[in-house]
């Protein structure tokens, strides 16, 4: 049933990457419990605008949990309290009347805050550029059914490929490691026959780039898996480690 609640928000405001930020308090009144979290922020922003104050900047686009553009830390948890849910898909029915909610940007050495809740996650693109692809040009590919893939393998690859590149794993990790994100891409392509020829180069370069960009190491805290909105499994990290080890042993890439 629809009802309305009143909330106190403590929101991180930061004018730009170089200016120091801090929390500010806002009241969100008459929030319908059917609203999404971002719709609640819309309501707050409309009011701020009418009050001649600057609205809160936050990233979002699809609002369907698939583009990976949204994401903030809600009461200490990336994407908020609901398991397997992006911030845009978090609904206000999971909050209670009178709650105080702290909202901060994803924080990591490799993610610079650009403004308020908006961060720069381009480091994740750079990791993909280092090898997160199969080197095929357009055209000249064999018939799709010429490459059979066992259903079970295809399903596992799809599980890994479901990563939306949101960076919550990085934000949740005490070491700000990107291992879950990288592990997901490495796994997807290492599982599939199409990805095998370049498997060793791929994992080597992607891991190297991840290190260079200032992401931390994995110390098995498993926070990433707990916070990942797509529930990407840490078995992907284990698979990546195996791939990395194999690459070191057998390949001439290093």
């Amino acid at each position: 049933m629809t009802k309305t609640i009143n909330l106190t928000l403590k929101v991180w405001r930061q004018q730009s990457a170089t200016i120091k930020g801090g929390f500010e308090t806002y009241h969100a009144s008459n929030i319908s419990t059917d609203m999404s979290f971002l719709e609640m922020l819309d309501v707050v922003n409309e009011q701020l605008t009418l009050d001649c104050r600057e609205p809160i900047a936050f990233d979002h686009d699809c609002r369907e949990g698939i583009c990976g553009q949204c994401g903030s830390v809600i009461n200490g948890r990336p994407h908020g309290p609901e398991k397997g849910t992006t911030l845009c898909q978090l609904h206000m029915r999971h909050f209670n009347d009178g709650d105080t909610i702290a909202i901060e940007p994803f924080r990591a050495k490799a993610f610079k805050v650009l403004k308020d809740l908006v961060v720069d996650r381009s480091a994740l693109d750079k990791i993909i550029q280092a090898g997160g692809y199969v080197s095929v040009n357009t055209g000249g590919t064999p018939d799709a059914n010429a490459i059979p893939v066992p259903k079970e393998i295809a399903e596992k690859a799809m599980d890994a490929a479901a990563c939306i590149g949101c960076g919550a794993c990085v934000a949740s990790c005490p070491n700000a490691s990107a291992m879950l994100f990288v592990g997901a891409k490495v796994s997807q392509l290492a599982l599939l026959p199409q990805g095998k020829p370049e498997a060793a180069r791929r994992v080597t370069f992607m891991v190297q780039t991840m290190d260079e960009l200032g992401f931390g190491n994995c110390s098995n805290e498993r926070e990433c898996e707990a916070e990942c909105p797509k529930e990407i499994s840490i078995t992907n990290i284990a698979r990546m480690n195996r791939e990395f080890f194999k690459a070191g042993l057998f390949s001439s890439t290093r």
Binding site: E54, P55, H91, R93, T138, A161, G165
Partner: protein, 637 residues
């Protein structure tokens, strides 16, 4: 103006091969001398940028989001068509071509659509080679499902995340070219103007969405892959940043806009539930494979659905269209849902919903099987509505979803501005008056992977392109216009927010230019939009400054363009004196309330030319010639 579609002569099946042979080639070493700007990194733009770079062109790629991987294409759920005939159920290039032409209510070009069907198989090959994890059978081969408007199983899918997986495939190819230095990527940039030099498209003025800086970029050709304009309606299934700005700027610079009134209302979306709502969520059409659509037999039956026995239910699609049943095309399904709700049979608190019921499918195939096919969609539905579709039928209602109209392009995908190419949803070319499910992904990738790499070479080989610099007057004056407009928006300092105006515009378009239209409503809508537009420029409040990350300013610019473009949609709808596909004018219908085309007078593309501020656009017509299919009244009975 004479609109020459440049469709090659000869038999339909040979046109594309013949054309490819006749297009002049650029020698590999010379390709690196050309620079191409690609705006947009969805399926069309991502595929185009990667493929052009692979050929050796120097590409500059632009997108609004923080990374190219987040383009709106990512949200496509259900699948992509290809006439592989892997199921041995009688599919062929010809059948896919025919279904698409018929699905579009005979308002698309034969030549373009046939080419689309021809390359559809290559797309699947390409994506599989990239490592796209399509659904498979136990034997390891690819699985298929059916989609609306077809009686064969030709849709390839990756769970309910087909768009995501296809886009990540294109993004991976693009990333490879970025690493190779062949593509320069400009994320968080919005195209604010198109720059013409000597009448040719030679560059852009863009706004850096982080710093607010106005940047200039020159090139030898510009490829717009900027998606559709469904967000004119405020509430749609499109991502929040989808806009018409890039297309509208091109239109103002002389590119014709074709069939703007052809918009698609998708039948299966989660119904509206509050005024605060910011967007609508699609429930993939694939659900209609197993879900049955119904309403209560009697008006005002407000029992909960599990209390309504079989005999008191009306499976209206199955009843009215026995051969296609729940799989009728979208326009037909949407209109019928509206009709039932207008009769007072709608479900839920608002009465603006129909049921989509999986009860029978679950008892036939088991919960596991249904979960495998639709699990993530069910989960999404439950997150939003807090109802569990395994136990309770979904409630759905039509919502604006896709736009068939777009910039006019010829067979080479070039607009009426030389050197300006338009791909994907941004052009008008392949879907006529109604798009069949799973064919937008196909078209975006066909345009990007398999058409533009050939046709752009033909353009370069046959065109004189003088050297330019971005400091020349054309760029300077475009940049000044952009800054002036920004300043103007910031200085109004009125009393209503941007979203407030947008919501009102959306309401007008939905009411009068939505699922059913009539002359009176359309005429009224025109006046309403005009006065809303003038109020906007006097009373909008845009906080913040220009040299900053300013999301209100971004939205204000987009809404300002929707306020102009909305009127063009209405003008086009008024001018088309027939009903066809997504354009249903109540004045033109059969006795059975189906769309009534007028092939004698309206078998054409309506292409509009900008005539200046405050002036009515000028109408141009491209007659559609059907040499291979016979125009029939579309029937799905």
């Amino acid at each position: 103006m004479h609109l020459d579609a440049k469709i090659p002569g000869g038999p339909l099946a040979d046109k594309w091969d013949k054309h490819k042979f006749e297009l002049k080639l650029i020698n590999p070493a010379n390709k690196r001398k050309f620079e191409v700007i690609v705006v947009g990194t969805g399926l069309a733009g991502g595929a185009a940028a990667a493929s052009l770079a692979e050929l050796g062109y120097n590409v500059k790629s632009f997108c609004i989001q923080d990374t190219p991987r987040r383009a709106h294409s990512i949200a496509a759920q259900g699948g992509i068509n290809a006439s592989k005939n892997y199921q041995n159920d009688g599919d062929s290039v010809w059948r896919l071509f025919y279904d698409t032409i018929k699905g579009g209510d005979f308002r698309a070009r034969e030549g373009n659509v046939y080419r689309l069907a021809q390359v559809s198989g290559n797309i699947i090959d390409q994506c599989v080679a990239q490592g796209v994890p399509f659904a498979r059978e136990y034997g390891g081969l690819l699985a298929n499902r059916s989609f609306g408007g077809a009686q064969v199983s030709r849709t390839f899918y990756a769970r309910g995340q087909t768009g995501q997986q296809l886009l990540l495939g294109a993004y991976s190819a693009l990333s490879r070219q970025i690493a190779a230095g062949k593509v320069q990527m400009f994320s968080r940039r919005e195209m604010m103007d198109l720059v013409l030099v000597n009448g040719q498209a030679r560059g852009l003025v863009v706004r850096n969405l982080v710093t607010g800086e106005i940047e200039r970029h020159g090139a030898d050709a510009v490829v717009l892959c900027t998606g559709g304009y469904a967000n004119a309606f405020f509430l749609s299934t499109n991502a929040m940043a989808c806009n018409v700005t890039a297309n509208y700027r091109a239109y103002q610079k002389g590119a014709l806009f074709a069939n703007p009134c052809f918009t698609q209302i998708h039948p299966t979306c989660i119904p509206v539930h509050g005024t605060y709502q910011s967007k609508l969520t699609l429930m993939s059409e694939s659900l209609r494979n197993d879900g049955r659509v119904w309403v209560p037999q009697t008006v005002g039956d407000k029992r909960s659905p599990d209390q309504i026995p079989e005999s008191d239910r009306d499976y209206f699609l199955e009843r009215k269209y026995p051969s296609f049943g729940n799989l009728v095309p979208r326009d037909v399904a949407s209109r019928n849902a509206k009709e039932q709700c207008d009769l007072g049979k709608g479900a839920g608190e608002t009465g603006l919903a129909v049921y989509l019921d999986f009860r029978d499918a679950i008892s036939r195939d088991g919960k596991d099987m249904i979960g495998q096919k639709y699990g993530n969609l069910f989960q999404m539905y439950e997150k939003i509505t807090a109802d569990n579709p395994y136990e309770k039928p979904m409630m759905i209602y039509p919502a604006v979803h896709y736009t068939m109209g777009g910039l006019w392009v010829d067979y080479n995908l070039m607009s009426t501005i030389p050197g300006l190419f338009v791909l994907g949803e941004a052009n008008f070319s392949d879907h006529g008056a109604n798009r069949l499910g799973a064919s937008a992904l196909m078209q975006g990738l066909a345009d990007g992977y398999f058409v533009i790499p050939y046709t752009i070479g033909g353009y370069f080989a046959g065109t004189q392109l003088p050297k330019i610099t971005t400091s020349q007057s054309e760029f300077t004056s475009a940049a000044r216009t952009v800054s002036d407009r920004t300043q103007r928006l910031l200085s109004i300092n009125g009393k209503r927010t941007v979203d407030d105006f947008h919501r009102e515009l959306g309401g007008i378009l939905w009411e009068y230019c939505g699922m059913a239209r009539n002359d009176e409503g359309l005429t009224k809508a025109r006046t309403l939009i005009q006065s809303l537009r003038s109020e906007f420029w006097e009373n909008v409040k845009v906080p913040g400054v220009d040299m900053d990350l300013n999301q209100s300013l971004e939205r204000a610019g987009r809404v300002a363009d929707f306020l102009e473009f909305g009127e063009l949609m209405v003008i086009d709808a008024l001018a088309r004196r027939e009903s066809c596909g997504g354009h249903f004018n109540e004045g033109f219908q059969t006795e059975e309330n189906e769309a009534l085309r007028d092939d004698d007078n309206f078998c054409h593309v309506a292409a509009w030319e900008y005539a200046g501020e405050g002036k009515d656009p000028q109408f141009h017509k491209e007659p559609l010639v059907f040499e291979n299919v016979k125009l029939t009244q579309r029937s799905y009975k």
